[in-house]
């Protein structure tokens, strides 16, 4: 198979996910007219909300896509959201606050909590990456450990107390369309990084065949650590945006976001076997999750059935992924 035909096949696949997205949206459009007598899609405010409510999951999905491309997995992203949300929120409190975590550290410029949140994510990612690259621990177990530990740390940090009364400059990060812009900006940066830079080539090479990557001179260990740090930074950023949006830090934040993020990546065509996946697909996968959430709410779907349908859609996407891979191998 030449490089050119493979490229064409990938593009064709992206188009197919886009068709799935459009099909789901049209189903809600049709039901919307019959149940609500109103359009689902022709409402700019709702289109924004669809993406807004998944923009944090989207940030995690961009990170986990890169991790999955290397042949790994990241189960810790949701917990890292909670930990960095707590740490960032504790540094974003206003003065004269009776419930300040650090009474001496209030009214800091908003960049301090933002950087602290991202740095928290980076540190957690570095530990994930180091464990995976330099010990024989499989990524599933290493990040599972981080998932439990980071959630525990988030709870321990204030003994479970939520943190509120955050400064206006900080909460502005979560207002309006800004979370969507942050998500889109991150998507563009890593779309380019994966497609056009050495970083991207190495990432795909390691996922496709780590042995070959090593032989051809890539420092596989160092690169893996880098990929997990990037995923951690994105989770940390997700924690910052979440706490800004809710104007509070709570240890229960980001619960099971890691699974939504993995689902978004897989729906978007990232293969859990490694070596295959694109940010553009992940973005579409994320939006599919958002459209389903908004759609269910729009048509007033019974809450008890929503998760069942969501689960079925995710499994169908993985089944399609497996089928595609088998076809490729035999082709």
């Amino acid at each position: 198979m030449s490089v050119q035909t493979r490229g064409r096949r990938r593009r064709w696949h992206e188009a197919r996910i886009l068709l799935v997205l459009i099909a789901i949206a049209l189903v809600f459009e049709a039901i919307g007219w019959s149940v609500r007598g109103d359009s689902f899609l022709f409402n700019s405010q709702r289109l924004l909300v669809m993406v807004l409510q998944v923009s944090i999951v989207g940030l995690l999905a961009i990170g986990v896509t890169q991790v999955i491309i290397t042949g790994g997995i990241d189960l810790s992203s949701g917990s890292i959201v909670a930990l960095s949300a707590m740490i960032a929120a504790s540094l974003a409190q206003t003065s004269g606050n009776a419930r300040a975590v650090f009474p001496a550290l209030t009214d800091l410029p908003f960049i301090v909590p933002v950087l602290a949140g991202i740095a928290t994510g980076a540190a957690a990612g570095a530990i994930n990456g180091a464990l995976i690259a330099f010990t024989a621990i499989p990524p599933f177990i290493a990040t599972l450990g981080m998932m439990v530990t980071a959630r525990g740390l988030a709870r321990y940090y204030t003994r479970g107390q939520p943190i509120s009364l955050l400064s206006d400059t900080y909460t502005r990060i979560g207002e309006g369309a800004l979370p969507v812009l942050i998500f889109v900006a991150a998507a563009i940066i890593f779309y380019i990084a994966l497609r056009y830079t050495r970083y991207g080539k190495f990432t795909y090479a390691i996922g496709a065949n780590p042995q070959a990557a090593r032989v051809s001179g890539i420092d596989v260990g160092r690169h893996l650590v880098l990929v997990y740090i990037i995923a951690g930074c994105l989770s940390g950023l997700g924690g910052v945006v979440t706490s800004a949006r809710a104007a509070s830090g709570q240890a229960g934040m980001g619960m099971s976001y890691e699974l939504d993020a993995i689902a978004a990546a897989v729906i978007g065509g990232t293969s859990l076997a490694g070596g295959i996946g694109r940010i553009s697909g992940t973005v579409i996968g994320t939006i599919i999750l958002g459209v389903m959430t908004s759609g269910f709410t729009f048509i007033g779907f019974d809450a008890y059935i929503q998760d069942i349908v969501k689960g079925v859609v995710i499994v169908l996407a993985v089944v399609a992924d497996q089928y595609r891979q088998r076809k490729r191998r035999t082709a």
Binding site: R46, G160, S248, Q250, A251
Partner: protein
């Protein structure tokens, strides 16, 4: 050979650690094991703090806390561990009220007194030495919705934000809300969705509802966090505070601040401190062999702009 040594060493370490951990506890005459549904829930952490503070004031009483992290199985194991450890009494804040008959049976078989706090057990009757300290969820939901209805002049559209499905509070507060609305012919439920108790989910739900264009006159939320999410969504959409009446339950500090601003129409104070202190007292009494009534009710109290100030310090 070498492996068996390793196993022995491991076992020895475990035993040593267990002895080291349990040594200080044995000094207290009354040890009470407490299994909480969640450590990180805003309201439950007030309840837990009240228990910790009250426990400190009682000589010879030691409280040992475990976090069930919302997992019924984990909670059952914690209760079994408490029993095996020989605690004088157990306090349980249940993850799922449906599992309480099993917990009741475990405690009764072992002869250990059991106190359910906050979340109502589903047992039809509680045996001797098993009691419930808490508030009636139906009363909480009814107070909230009756006050919202009054402020709406008993007419208009209501949207309901439901807590985590399958929890006692979500089921009963929602049922109470629906029952109140059913009483008034000019009121209607137009939306009802799950927000999992969380502020961000409340924000997302309200965003979606606002874009759906159907008129909503009031949002009745199962708790304050989701209600605050709804208020934030209204702010971001440029709606003036109070345009849509928002009601919650819990009267958390954050919610009281919203009531003060006039953004939240009503919340309901569930006396965390009263429940925590009541639960510890009941456990201590039962451990001493004294009698405690099967149900110790701590009433809900209505909070509006006219009286919120008296709740700020509670």
């Amino acid at each position: 050979m070498r492996r068996s040594h390793l196993v022995l060493l491991l076992l020895a370490t475990c035993v040593a650690a267990a002895v080291a951990c349990s040594a200080p506890r044995s000094r207290a005459t009354t040890t009470i094991g407490v299994s909480m549904a969640y450590f990180d829930d805003n309201w439950l952490s007030i309840l837990r703090d009240a228990m910790v503070e009250h426990g400190r004031t009682l000589p010879d009483v030691q409280l040992q806390f475990d976090d069930a992290q919302g997992d019924v199985g984990k909670q059952l194991s914690q209760i079994q561990n408490f029993i095996a450890q020989g605690v004088s009494a157990i306090v349980v804040n249940t993850v799922d009220s449906a599992a309480t008959p099993k917990m009741t049976r475990l405690a009764r078989d072992a002869g250990v007194p059991l106190v359910y706090v906050n979340r109502t057990p589903s047992d039809a009757t509680l045996p001797d030495k098993v009691v419930f300290v808490g508030s009636d969820e139906i009363q909480g939901g009814t107070l909230e919705m009756e006050e919202l209805a009054r402020q709406m002049n008993y007419q208009g559209n209501v949207a309901i934000m439901v807590g985590e499905l399958a929890t006692h509070g979500a089921r009963f507060r929602t049922k109470a809300t629906e029952d109140v609305i059913a009483k008034y012919p000019r009121m209607k439920i137009v939306e009802k969705q799950v927000g999992n108790w969380q502020r961000e989910r409340g924000l997302d739900l309200m965003n979606n509802w606002l874009t759906a264009g159907r008129s909503i006159n009031a949002v009745a939320s199962n708790n304050d966090e989701m209600a605050i999410g709804a208020i934030m969504a209204m702010q971001q959409a440029g709606l003036p505070p109070g345009k849509i009446l928002v009601g919650g339950v819990d009267a958390t500090p954050d919610a009281l601040a919203e009531v003060a601003k006039g953004a939240m129409a009503v919340t309901v104070f569930q006396n965390a401190r009263g429940q925590g202190v009541g639960a510890v007292d009941a456990a201590v009494k039962l451990a001493k062999g004294e009698h405690v009534d099967s149900f110790v009710w701590v009433p809900f109290e209505l909070v509006t702009k006219s009286n919120y100030q008296s709740f700020l310090k509670r």
